[in-house]
């Protein structure tokens, strides 16, 4: 059983944090979603989702890496927590189970 409900977009953001491995912050996450999924997302949505994920304990964050480009302001860098990685693994597993149970002809029919 999953401990916390994870919304679809939350799951994507969480996955992005995991993918970016230490380089995840607002900008990189937005760009990555745009590039790899072709979805245009408002920055506020990403921002809110990150805050929500942190409240749920799936990611943690710290401030760091101020650059001139940012006007000397620091980034908030996100990392996935053990709870977070467990959550996405759970999701993955449940999906794999379900995939296995799909009778082969259903998918073939779908292809038609």
């Amino acid at each position: 059983m999953r401990r916390t409900y994870l919304g679809e977009f939350e799951e994507i953001v969480l996955l992005m944090v995991a993918v970016l491995d230490g380089e995840a912050y607002g900008v990189t996450i937005s760009q990555e979603i745009e590039q790899s999924m072709g979805r245009l997302v408002a920055f506020g949505t990403v921002h809110n989702t990150l805050i929500r994920l942190e409240e749920k304990g799936f990611v943690r964050s710290e401030l760091g890496g101020a650059t001139a480009q940012r006007g000397g302001r620091r980034k908030r860098l996100f990392r996935i927590t053990a709870l977070g990685s467990r959550a996405i693994q759970d999701i993955q597993q449940v999906r794999a189970e379900l995939w296995k149970q799909i009778p082969s002809h259903t998918l073939e029919l779908g292809k038609l």
Binding site: G26, G44, H47, N48, I51, L63, R74
Partner: protein, 875 residues
């Protein structure tokens, strides 16, 4: 590529203005970075458009706020370091303001000590008789009788009552114990003899009271020639030797064997003084009075104690046995409508007053009174504590500001102020226990108790703890919650001023304090006034030098003539008489008199008093009409003297020469005397008849020769006494002391109330003193300026004292009607009582005002006399 391009300024400003502060830094940076990215990818227009859109997406209400998490981790309010710091600061504050601390702690400790003592007193009163295991099941048989239109209630019943209850109502009871009233008897063993109070009782009493036998057994009382001794009685008679099986004599005639020794019954029980218990059987077989009256239904002199059977319920049993006596009465005796009922043991002590057949309370009123006084004194102390801590805490506003500026949280300030008040309360409590321990011997002496601090009683500690916590919270709450709410900036800028509203609660509290104090003062003054008034009451005879000796045996009664002559020869006495009852009691109330013109509906019992011819000369009564008894008239053996009240009651116009019939015996009235106060000095004198006793009179009363020292005279008397009554202990009582003893209860109340009042006033004044010094300190500069402008010391003194005087006057205005109301109803209880003059109120008021001004003046004069140069330079 350096960054020449910037997002639109207005959007940036909008962002800074509206985006939540917590995430402004990172989000702002992210947006700028994204703008660059979009600019590089899609050009300026696209970038600006997307930037603006995205700015809106992070503005409220769309944006989610980031919660501050773990920002102050590690600085919990309850960490050990913090708590020890609180107490360190509290200690330093106490040490810095020595006077305030002293006043605070002293006041609170005094209040607590008083409350503790009163609490112990209440505990003692309320636990009276509760040490008996069966106390909830034991009761006393009482009866009401209708005598001449008046309903009398008393616990004396006829001797056969116990037997009758056993025969007809036995199922209701587990034990029924008939008993004589507690009277002094001579116990003698060989040459040692003592007068000891004791009772003749049925054997069930040993189980009823669960007597703790040191030696012998409870069953020992079943032997009709036995006696049980209390431990202390056994010790005085037999010393360390074993008392059991020794044979001693009661009143020199009844030989009894000691069959058991029981541990003395606790001080706060009805039977505390009972030194011996002899069998009831012995009384009704071998004692003349007992055997004569054992089946008499119209002589009430016995007490009956019962223990209810397991399933019996007191009120229903009480109802069931109501006619137990009436059923046995015949003829006119039935007019008394005698009704018996049960009075439970738990109520004997506190509910002992009866009026018209109904219980009207008793000592329970004093329990309430002192409970209230204790609560008030405690309240006074709390008020002090609160007033001083609030007054002082305004000074500490600056400290609050600094603490907040360096990052103190509100919770921490609350903790700090509370720990301070708790420290003070705790110190005060320790001192209070010490004070109570020191005061307890005096208090016991004053209250006639044997109390001790209940060190081992968890309830006592729980109460003490609850009180400490309560006071600590109460006194600490104002500074804790009010002061900690200040804005650091305001306080540090000095713009903070406690408004006028801050003073009002304090003034109200001072008024409350003085209302209580003034009421207590007036109350105490009136208690003493009443005692004094009653003591000065004319008693109808002369008390000085009168000595009484109880004579349980007939030795002197039978040889009274030679005894009197020999005493007169010694020159030690003026005269001697013997009477049936002590002069200070009215033991015999009798009906059955008739005279010419008697109103048959008003047959109230007369006090009867058997005397000898010398009685008048000995006690010095005042003959108003006719003459005194005299040996010259042989007919005087059948003469009576009435008191003025009796003449009024009987409605005789010329009493002298009238004939009064006592039963069938005609007696002629030879004189009328002024009424003599006998039993209670607070009650009106009852109608009484004095007759020459044809039967044994066992109280010897004599007047010592004036001018001779009492010990010398008594030594001579004793010699004669020993000759005639060698077996009776020479225990004499001075009549004036006996009379004074009648004021003991009221004096005790007066003294207790007096000392509590003094303490209450002291506590109030302490508080006032502290407040005055606070006000004076606060107005130092104002006074300096006033003095520079030419104000005199007098005007400064008035300025500072006026406010306080006003408060006390308000308090007096509130207190006077309250005190008037309470005291009028208190005085109504005494038939012979003083008035409530307005001068008492005025003088109390003047006194309270004077005390207030004295207290305040110390501070106000100090402030007024201060050199303005100094006070203006203070900062």
């Amino acid at each position: 590529m350096k960054n020449p391009t910037v997002p639109p300024r207005w959007a940036q400003r909008l962002f800074t203005w509206l985006h939540p502060e917590e995430t402004r830094e990172e989000v702002g940076g992210d947006l700028d970075e994204l703008y660059d990215y979009w600019y590089a990818r899609s050009g300026r227009l696209q970038a600006t458009l997307r930037y603006v859109l995205n700015v809106f997406s992070v503005l409220p209400p769309f944006v989610r706020r980031r919660r501050r998490t773990q920002q102050y981790s590690g600085s919990s309010n309850l960490s050990m370091t913090m708590i020890s710091n609180y107490f360190k600061v509290a200690r330093r504050n106490l040490a810095k303001n020595k006077m305030y601390s002293f006043i605070n702690i002293t006041g609170l400790a005094t209040g607590m000590a008083v409350a503790m003592l009163i609490g112990l007193w209440l505990y003692d009163e309320l636990s009276f008789n509760k040490s008996f295991q069966n106390h909830t099941r034991v009761a006393r048989v009482m009866q009401t009788q209708n005598l001449g239109g008046m309903i009398l209630t008393h616990h004396e019943v006829p001797a056969p009552m116990g037997k009758e209850l056993r025969l007809s109502y036995g199922g209701y009871f587990r034990h029924i114990v008939s008993s004589t009233t507690e009277e002094s008897h001579i116990l003698s063993f060989k040459d040692t003899k003592f007068n000891k109070p004791g009772r003749f009782m049925e054997p069930g009493i040993t189980e009823m009271l669960s007597l703790d036998m040191i030696s012998g057994s409870r069953a020992g009382l079943s032997d009709p020639a036995s006696v049980l001794l209390s431990e202390s009685a056994a010790l005085s008679l037999f010393g360390s030797a074993d008392a059991v099986n020794q044979v001693l004599k009661i009143d020199n005639e009844l030989a009894v064997k000691v069959t058991g020794v029981y541990r003395d019954l606790p001080h706060n029980t009805t039977f505390a003084k009972t030194a011996f218990i002899a069998p009831w059987e012995l009384f009704i077989t071998r004692v003349a009075y007992g055997s004569k009256n054992k089946d008499q239904w119209n002589n009430n002199f016995t007490e009956v104690f019962v223990q209810l059977a397991d399933r019996a319920e007191l009120t229903s049993v009480s109802y069931a046995i109501a006619p137990a006596r009436l059923n046995k009465l015949t003829g006119t005796d039935r007019d008394t409508k005698a009704r018996v009922f049960l009075h439970p043991m738990d109520q004997w002590h506190l509910y002992s007053n009866w009026e018209e057949g109904f219980n009207t309370g008793g000592r329970i009123q004093y329990v309430w009174l002192f409970g209230i006084v204790g609560a008030f004194v405690l309240m006074l102390a709390c008020i002090n504590f609160m007033n001083l801590s609030t007054a002082r805490s305004e000074k500490r506003a600056l400290e609050v500001g600094v603490r907040k500026a360096v990052g103190s949280l509100r919770g921490q300030l609350v903790g700090q102020f509370f720990s301070e008040s708790f420290l003070v309360v705790f110190i005060a409590f320790v001192i209070a226990i010490g004070l109570a321990q020191l005061a307890i011997p005096y208090f016991n002496n004053m209250a006639d108790k044997k109390m001790a601090i209940l060190w081992g009683n968890p309830v006592f500690w729980a109460l003490a703890l609850a009180f400490c916590v309560f006071t600590g919270l109460l006194a600490g709450s104002y500074p804790a919650f009010y002061l900690s709410s200040f804005k650091a900036v305001n306080v540090l800028k000095g713009t903070f001023r406690a408004g006028r509203l801050a003073y009002i609660p304090r003034q109200v509290l001072v008024v409350v304090q003085f209302t209580v104090s003034v009421t207590l003062i007036i109350g105490t003054v009136m208690v003493f006034r009443q005692i004094h008034y009653t003591k000065d009451r004319p008693v109808g005879y002369d008390r000085t030098g009168l000595v009484m000796i109880d004579m349980p045996t007939l030795d002197i009664n039978n040889h009274f003539e030679p005894f009197r002559n020999e005493l007169l020869e010694t020159g030690a006495i003026v005269d001697v008489t013997k009477t049936t009852t002590p002069l200070t009691e009215k033991r015999n109330n009798e009906t059955g008199f008739s005279w010419r013109g008697k109103d048959m509906n008003r047959d109230r019992p007369f006090v009867t008093f058997g005397v000898t011819e010398e009685f008048g000369k000995t006690v010095g009564w005042k003959v108003k009409q006719g003459r005194d008894f005299s040996r010259q008239y042989s007919t005087d053996k059948l003469a009576v003297i009435l008191n003025e009240e009796a003449v009024r009651f009987m409605g005789l116009e010329n009493p002298v020469g009238e004939t009064v019939k006592w039963g069938d015996q005609p007696l002629h009235v030879v004189g009328v005397v002024e009424g003599m106060v006998m039993e209670s000095p607070y009650e009106p004198v009852q109608h009484a008849i004095y007759y020459i006793a044809p039967w044994p009179a066992r109280v010897v009363t004599m007047r010592l020769r004036p001018g001779m020292s009492a010990p010398d005279a008594l030594a001579k008397v004793e010699k004669v006494f020993r000759k005639y009554a060698p077996a009776v202990p020479f225990d004499y009582r001075f009549l004036d002391q006996e009379y004074d003893a009648k004021f003991r209860a009221e004096e005790r109340i007066g003294k207790l109330a007096g000392s509590f009042t003094v303490l209450a006033v002291f506590i109030s004044c302490l508080g006032l003193f502290g407040l005055a010094s606070f006000v004076a300190a606060q107005r130092t500069r104002e006074i300096g300026v006033r003095k520079v402008l030419g104000a005199s010391v007098w005007s400064v003194w008035t300025l500072l004292s006026r406010d306080f005087a006003l408060l006390v006057i308000v308090a007096m205005i509130i207190a006077s009607p309250v005190a008037y109301y309470i005291l009028t109803s208190w005085l109504q209880k005494y038939e012979y009582h003083t008035g409530l003059p307005w001068s008492v109120f005025v003088w109390t008021g003047v006194g309270a005002l004077a005390i207030t001004l004295l207290t305040v003046s110390f501070q106000s004069l100090k402030a007024a006399l201060m050199n303005p140069v100094k006070s203006l330079r203070t900062d």
